[in-house]
Symmetry: C2
Subunit: 109 residues, 2 copies
DNA sequence: TTCACCTACCTAGAATCTTTAGGTATATAT
DNA sequence: ATATATACCTAAAGATTCTAGGTAGGTGAA
């Protein structure tokens, strides 16, 4: 597993990226992030739900409910145009940051 | 400037790396990180000093005082063998994390 | 010699984020 | 009945960072 400190801060970027691919509900995001990372990234519900609420308050995402024929209703989230803008900015920030860190810790990877 | 959230978590890695190159004192670390990053990374003293104290408590670094012929004395920090071990681990964690994130946000950079 | 500024250390309190550790409810399988 | 899985949620604790100071020694200009 990754050091907890290292993982901090990039969760909102990850969530925005996944919602940019398709609408998802919270529980699905937790599972999907685990699946895609081979369980290396285990986003806790206690982090994800408040995080989603914050992103929605910032109007980067919005939600709609969808009843299911079986099981509890799902609260789907959709990225907004503003969210796409932020995603693009954050992604390029991420790359700049990685390049800089790799430079500082003496790696060309 | 980078998003504050993005920068979180890698400061101790950076500090250990710099101290692995040579002994430095706190104030020097602030300036050096700024200099090497072209002022993109501005480590605040309020973050650095408590961070150094924590690393020292974990016995990854240790300090010694050095009087100056002019100006205040300097508290130099030196990385310990344990610190070097942790640095190697954290560095490889960093690379693994970056590879994973780049995969998840769909980039080959 | 007074004032501003730089070096060099430090911390308390606020803000933010994550985890822990629950809770509620629906549906299915044993 | 009971366990398990889905699916939402939050309060409190823990960790880290920033804000916004403080202390002190030395330098340079007016």
């Amino acid at each position: 597993m990754f050091n907890r400190e290292l993982v901090k801060g990039s969760t909102s970027l990850l969530v925005l990226q996944l919602l940019n691919e398709r609408d998802m509900y919270g529980y699905e995001l937790v599972k999907e992030i685990g699946r895609r990372s081979n369980q290396l990234l285990q986003m806790k519900e206690g982090s994800l739900y408040p995080g989603l609420h914050k992103l929605e308050k910032q109007e980067y995402i919005e939600h709609y409910w969808q009843e299911q024929s079986k099981g509890p209703a799902r609260k789907y989230y959709r990225i907004t145009p503003e969210g796409k803008k932020i995603l693009a900015e954050r992604t390029s920030e991420w790359h700049r940051y990685v390049r800089l860190m790799n430079h500082l810790i003496g790696s060309s990877e």
